[in-house]
């Protein structure tokens, strides 16, 4: 392992923060907002962690409905995310977006997105900005195995290749689109097999192994920064819970399968790699776990203590500038 201690600790810290956010934050959100539109990425932590470790705050990412991990890995403050999930005015999006729309433009986080693969061309556009303005930034477009079959992804990969844009198309292949197994929905063995059709490199890596992701992403990011164009990076991973909080995953997958993947838990694997070799002590990792746990308690408190948005917010930021009267049509007659 040629990673320095600091990098290693950061990788683990990101993963455990994501894990704790999902395991603690999602049930709490459920109690408060009562919405099915929250998706846990627990199990998939190695992917955003390994990829975003190569990014600076100025680089861009576009994300999915299952995007908490992307946000945290890109540096978005979990406290503000929690407040967002709770619908509070202090949230990343002032409570107006929720889990599926968390954005932090100050961190290059172009939004989680509720429409599958819809953020992909946004990331391509951000890469275009970088190229035209010579900013040296790269953009990562995260999408799922289900998203791999959306037309806009195909168009976006072609466009990015034609324009040689600094984009990494990162597929989190977690085996399922809702309940639909990837073997059913995807006509080819690997998503990365499609890269050749766009004249770009394609890799399939073990998405439960943060080192594997880190290494492959490093190459892809380096290629993008060097102006050599896009890469398609597929990470094979697994979500430990249901599609949302409401479904029972055992209605479409087996306990045995879950156990196999649980055994490959990316946090556990990380421990098993670094602790026996004496690179990092178990205590240090425990401390990071504890910090993450504490952070979540703090985040929940922060969110709970935060106010709900003012009701006038309903009409704010629809536009930069628009007549209020037209927005209130259908409402103001009645008030």
């Amino acid at each position: 392992m040629d990673l320095d201690q600091k990098t290693l600790l950061n990788l683990y810290k990101t993963m455990t923060t994501i894990r704790h956010f999902e395991e603690r934050g999602i049930p709490e959100t459920g109690q408060r907002q009562m919405s099915a539109s929250v998706h846990s990425s627990a199990g998939q932590e190695a992917v955003p962690t390994g990829v975003c470790a190569h990014l600076t705050v100025d680089d861009y990412i576009g994300s999915t409905h299952r995007g908490h991990g992307h946000c945290i890995a890109k540096g978005v403050d979990p406290k503000l995310m929690m407040a967002e999930l709770f619908g509070r005015a202090t949230g990343t999006n002032q409570g107006k977006g929720g889990s599926m729309h968390i954005a932090d433009m100050s961190k290059g986080m172009l939004g989680t997105n509720g429409v599958v693969a819809a953020s992909v061309p946004l990331a391509v556009g951000a890469a275009l900005t970088s190229k035209l303005r010579k900013l040296g930034r790269v953009a990562v477009a995260f999408f799922g195995d289900g998203g791999a079959n959306q037309g806009v992804l195909h168009e976006s990969m072609n466009l990015a290749s034609v324009w040689k844009l600094p984009v990494i198309f990162c597929c989190e292949n977690n085996g399922y689109a809702e309940s639909t197994p990837v073997e059913y929905g995807l006509s080819v063995a690997n998503v990365a097999d499609r890269a050749a059709g766009y004249d770009m490199p394609g890799f399939t890596v073990d998405g439960m192994d943060v080192f594997a992701v880190y290494e492959a992403a490093g190459q892809a990011v380096a290629r993008a920064r060097a102006g050599e164009g896009p890469t398609l990076l597929e990470c094979r991973t697994y979500r430990f819970y249901g599609h949302t909080v409401f479904d029972n995953p055992l209605s479409y997958r087996t306990k045995e399968e879950e156990d196999i993947w649980r055994a490959r838990d990316p946090l556990k694997q990380f421990r098993e790699r670094v602790v026996p070799e004496g690179i990092i002590t178990a205590e240090e990792l425990d401390r990071l776990d504890q910090e993450a746990e504490d952070l979540m308690e703090e985040a929940i408190r922060f969110a709970d203590d935060s106010p709900m948005p003012e009701l006038s917010e309903l009409y704010q930021d629809v536009y930069v500038d628009y007549p209020l009267d037209m927005m209130r049509r259908g409402v103001n007659m009645a008030d």
Partner: protein
Amino acid sequence: MTTTTAPMTSTVAREIMYREAINEALRQEMERDETVIIMGEEIAGGAGREHLGIVDAWGGPFRTTVGLIQQFGNQRVLDTPLSEAAFVGAAIGAASTGMRAVAELMFVDFIGVCMDQLLNNAAKMRYMFGGQVKVPFVLLTRIGAGFGSAAQHSESFYSIFSHIPGLKCVVPSDAYTAKGLLTAAIRDDDPVIYFEHKGLYGNRGPVPEEPYVLPIGKARTVRPGSDITLVGISRMTWVCTEAADELAKEGVNAEVVDLLSISPIDYDHVIESVKRTHRLVVVDEDTPVCSIASEICARVAEEAFEYLDAPPSRVTAPHTPVPYSRPLENIYLPNASRVINTVRRLVNG
């Protein structure tokens, strides 16, 4: 409900849910006509896992299609990859070559990924081809805010489809109309967009066991009245009746018309009512500009101008996306008190 345009059979004892009524209509039509097929994401679920004993993981995210694959098999009940443009287009292609094809778009919010197939193929083929083809295609989709699901999973948006020549559109408001209109939609030789409201799935109501058709393009009066006509669309019908109950206490007798079909619109029914009540409020969960609410107000103003004692009015969602935070979403949605305020203003002058 008081009157319906389609006769209800006398033997209605059984009550079932809106979601079950949808399921029953699909099942009965598939039994009746082997050319009926249905396709979409997750409509069975767990696709391709028969060898593990999984044939129906959940039967659709709202369980509207549960059990169909067991009964009709995976050739007629087709789970699809996440590719709306392709499978909606394929359903239209199948419909134009001899099938009656039903496709499901999980939420109407996603329509933008497959709009072209509806707009340029389904809606226009018959016309462009000089009448050579029928397109018995049904798109099932879901509308409605109020579930903390934010801007991309809460739209209503049906006005856009009513605008498009060549499409028919229905908005069932309870279990009875859900079954009758879906049966009608499947048997119809034109493309029909069928809007299910997420907020109605659990509603129970009397539904005949045998198949029946409610004619597309017919509204019904769910509460007779003489002072004002409230036109409701989908779940908003019940917002209207709630308002009407409250208004009755003030001595205002509101008639509530449940539109049921938004392409075509039953103007005979609406205008007949307005000619009696002389006042109109349309209650629409969609955003206001170029909405069904504007359409109905405009047409009533055009055709019943002399009969109107007050401006034809709208209660709708605001011209904003749907916010996530619950307090904001609550004030986003049209509700009874907003209807009541509007009515009071119109009735009192």
